[in-house]
């Protein structure tokens, strides 16, 4: 069963098409890596899933529910981290999470649990505006993870983290489906990161989905199309370049 499924999802801003006819299929209990260069439309697609921006055409289902009719139901089950950490600077880390906890109707213990998951328990009493960039990132992740939601939408969650932090967060994301039966949609422009986390990948370029499947499927396709297969980064870059060339020729 697909936890998230899109149907010709499109977003245009005037003449510019940010997302074009996107058909994603994200099975339940998987980590789905959403890959693409900067400006590919990954964040825009994720914002549409959360109701932050309205699709121009098409639609999507999250756990069988539709936006905007089932907005509350969808948001109750979805934890998210979009673009950059969002918090109240005048509150401590703990207080920030307590606000989210109360709005989600979660027990008090979920705050401490979320802080432990991201390694911020030691700094919970510090004001969020005094946090370093990495700590703010972790706070944003804690806010997404609090209450262990069944669906997680994470936009570049390891930005700003040190290598140890990246490893910790990546390991945690990797274990979420098996531990908590969670479905994770995680975006990145770094193939190496997605390679270590994701069960399935979707590659986006200039709003269009170029590929969806496992990494093995990606290698097979690359071999079939005569693209480099020695290393996935080269395969990815070749795929993007080929698409850019096709667009250049059409234009």
């Amino acid at each position: 069963m697909n936890m998230i499924e899109t149907d010709h999802l499109t977003k245009r801003y005037g003449d510019f098409t940010a997302v074009s006819e996107l058909n994603l299929h994200i099975p339940q209990g998987t980590v789905y890596g959403f890959l693409g260069p900067n400006g590919a439309g990954k964040s825009t697609a994720m914002k549409m899933f959360l109701g932050l921006t309205r699709p121009t055409e098409g639609g999507f289902y999250i756990d069988g529910k539709i936006f905007p009719q089932d907005r509350m139901e969808i948001l109750k089950k979805t934890g998210s981290f979009i673009e950059a950490p969002a918090f109240y600077g005048n509150l401590t880390g703990e207080e920030n999470l307590d606000i989210v906890r109360r709005l989600l109707g979660l027990p008090r213990e979920s705050v401490e649990e979320a802080l432990e998951m991201v390694g911020l328990a030691e700094y919970k009493k510090r004001l969020a505006k005094k946090y370093s960039l990495g700590m703010k990132q972790r706070l944003g992740l804690a806010s997404a993870l609090i209450g262990r939601p069944p669906i997680l939408i994470l936009d570049e969650p390891t930005n700003g983290l040190d290598p140890v932090g990246i490893h910790e967060i990546r390991t945690m994301i990797r274990e979420l489906p098996s531990r908590y039966n969670c479905t994770v949609l995680v975006s990145s422009h770094l193939l190496s990161e997605i390679e270590l986390m994701a069960d399935l990948v979707g590659i986006l370029n200039r709003g269009k989905l170029l590929f969806e499947g496992t990494l093995t499927d990606l290698r097979d396709r690359a071999r079939f199309e005569g693209l480099p297969t020695d290393n996935l980064e080269e395969t990815f870059l070749a795929l993007i370049q080929e698409d850019n060339l096709k667009r250049g020729m059409r234009q």
Binding site: R54, M72, K76, P85, N90, L103
Partner: protein
């Protein structure tokens, strides 16, 4: 539960200390005025509260309007400053519901300021004029009317603040509105339409006509509805 969240968000934002300090400052106005100029007021024929309000309310009302401006600005600046608003939009709550809760927070803090000012007026009245019959009823009625007349300004400033991520726009609109009210106060006495200007309404103590209070209530509801309309449009066209 969600209203508790709105109060918790205000920790260390300065909202409560500002309203406490502002309320005390406004409460000091009648006391200082009587202390230094009591001979101007002691022999007037009206009731003590009427004398005190006519002499002091324009200054007190203006201070209250500045407090409302500061409060409305702070309530949404804390949401926009570190993008907390974005997180709130991805939680299962209505953004209009959040707007109404913030409005209730603003009403509660202005009530705190009003309570201080009412206590000061009562104290000054008793001290200089002695206890008079019906003083408490009159005080309750007058302060109640003034609170109702303040509600449209609260709603308007909060709506402007919710629409503008830039704090300076909110402050600019508020300051312009307050000074416009001071300029229009003379003309407003003759013009029923001008009387409904949200920044002018709270400054005039003599306007206690029931129809005006109903109009203030309707104006508040209209501004709150406009706030909801704006939130719907913003989501639709983002």
């Amino acid at each position: 539960m969600s209203l508790v969240c709105e109060y918790k968000k205000c920790r260390r934002s300065g909202l409560f200390p500002v309203f406490l300090a502002g309320g005390l400052l406004a409460a000091a106005v009648p006391a200082m005025n009587m202390f230094f100029r009591s001979e101007l007021y002691l022999h007037r024929p009206q009731t003590p509260l009427t004398i005190l309000l006519e002499a002091n309310w324009q200054m007190m009302g203006m201070l209250n309007l500045f407090l409302v401006l500061a409060g409305a600005s702070v309530l949404y600046h804390m949401e926009f400053a570190d993008r907390a608003f974005l997180r709130m939009e991805t939680l299962p709550q209505s953004m209009f519901g959040m707007f109404i809760r913030k409005y209730l927070v603003l009403v509660s803090v202005i009530l705190m300021a009003f309570a201080l000012e009412a206590a000061s007026l009562a104290g000054v009245s008793i001290c200089w004029f002695g206890m008079t019959e019906g003083m408490w009823n009159e005080l309750g009625r007058q302060m109640g009317c003034l609170l109702v007349k303040m509600l449209p300004a609260l709603a308007l400033m909060l709506a402007v603040s919710s629409a503008s991520e830039n704090l300076w726009i909110t402050l600019g609109v508020g300051v312009t509105g307050i000074f416009a009210a001071l300029i229009l106060s003379g003309a407003g006495r003759q013009n029923h339409i001008l009387q409904l200007f949200p920044f002018l309404l709270p400054l005039e103590t003599a306007w206690t006509d029931g129809r005006l209070l109903l109009a203030a209530g309707a104006e508040t509801a209209a501004i709150l509805a406009a706030g909801q309309g704006y939130l719907c449009i913003r989501r639709r066209f983002r």
